[in-house]
């Protein structure tokens, strides 16, 4: 019967203790996209909101979630707030999802990644006839943070004003 030397018996667990976490760490770094794998899915809402200068300043209940935003000085000129449409998009990493609106605009969103508190996204907005891109941007924002896109003047049968797209995305665990 052969007996392992003390040196060998110490070397094996020592090597295992070093190599196991080291290899796992290297693997995580080596696999593409692993660094941003913490955020793999997100759920987004895109609200088409019409802001007009006619109104009593009342914010309807369906826009209550963005009340603090609409009461910001940036929108102080507007007294009427109307939710035209709300579209939901579920995003997977590096996969574009798009929503069309009755105004003719198309809003595209792509989840690019994120860390523990923020999401990294790509957003684009098409023209009303969907023939060209009005906006294409990469941005990062807090989880459930709101990005507003002002798409210019808009009017329908009932009202007129400025059309805004409020984009809110949150990670899905």
């Amino acid at each position: 019967m052969t007996r392992r030397s003390l040196k060998t018996r110490l070397l094996i667990p020592a090597l295992a203790a070093v190599l196991a976490p080291l290899s796992a760490f290297v693997t995580v770094l080596a696999v593409p996209g692993a660094a941003e794998a913490a955020v793999a899915k997100a759920s987004c809402q895109v609200n088409a909101v019409l802001l007009s200068k006619d109104g009593d300043g009342t914010i309807p209940s369906e826009l209550d979630f963005m009340k603090s935003t609409l009461q910001n000085d940036e929108f102080a000129a507007y007294k009427g707030f109307h939710l035209l449409e709300r579209k939901e998009l579920k995003l997977a990493l590096d996969t574009k999802a798009e929503a069309s609106f009755t105004s003719g605009h198309r809003v595209g969103l792509t989840l690019l990644g994120g860390d523990e508190t923020r999401l990294k996204l790509h957003a684009d907005l098409s023209s009303r006839d969907a023939t060209k891109s009005l906006l294409s941007t990469d941005y990062s924002i807090e989880d459930n943070g709101l990005l507003m896109i002002g798409a210019g003047a808009y009017s329908d049968e009932k009202r007129s004003g400025k059309l805004f797209f409020a984009i809110q995305c949150g990670r899905v665990s």
Binding site: A16, S23, T27, T69, E74, E85, K96, E98, L135, Y139
Partner: protein
């Protein structure tokens, strides 16, 4: 019959006869010759005497070796047998088998490292979905390489209800714009500290800008 001439020629046969190496016919023939030839008989007797002397000499030498010497020899043989039994098996002839044998002390740590790496890959794969969103309620297509490029191939819009339940109220925080491209008449970024608004206007010549805030 000239025996002086015959003896040398028959010497080989006589030696073979003495050693019992002749076949039956040859042995009978040689025996008849020896019976008829006293000189050959004398040679045969001398060969017998010589064999006896050599045998006795060897026996005498063997008796002169002390018993302790035999025990020493047997001890040596025992030690050799024990060493052969305890010696590890000879290295395999195959190169890969020899590498495997040399690798033996490192099997456990390396296997642990490979296992940890495999677990890391599995965990990452579980936490990360494929490139295509397969949720039935979601319209999505794989994203193009350029983050700022417009993807012309886009799936149909999400068949969601027109007014869905709102998300929780967002915290007042600005967005960080990493890159932006305006394609309309004009575009600008407004940041108030609590909200970020990107303004675009349709029509006119596209203008392009890149900024990082």
């Amino acid at each position: 019959m000239n025996h002086e001439n015959d003896i040398p020629t028959q010497a080989g046969d006589l030696q073979a006869f003495f050693d019992g190496e002749l076949d039956h016919a040859g042995a009978e023939r040689m025996a008849r010759t020896i019976d008829q030839d006293p000189q050959l008989r004398q040679h045969l007797n001398q060969m017998g005497v010589m064999r006896d002397l050599v045998g006795r000499s060897l026996e005498m030498r063997a008796t002169q070796v002390p018993r302790a010497r035999f025990e020493q020899i047997w001890d040596e043989i025992d030690r050799t047998i024990t060493q052969d039994a305890s010696r590890p098996a000879e290295l395999p002839a195959s190169f890969w088998q020899r590498v495997w044998v040399a690798f033996r002390p490192f099997r456990v740590p390396v296997m642990a490292a490979v296992g940890a790496a495999a677990i890391a890959v599995v965990v990452m794969q579980v936490g990360q979905s494929g490139p295509v969103n397969q949720d039935g309620g979601v319209a999505s297509v794989p994203r193009t390489a350029s983050p700022l490029s417009h993807d012309p191939q886009v799936a149909p819009p999400t068949p969601a209800p027109s007014i869905a339940e709102a998300f929780p109220s967002p915290r007042a925080a600005e967005a960080e714009i990493h890159g932006i491209e305006f394609g309309g008449k004009q575009g600008r970024i407004s940041q108030t500290g609590v909200v970020t608004v990107l303004y675009v206007e349709e029509d006119a010549t596209p203008q392009k800008s890149e900024r990082s805030l």
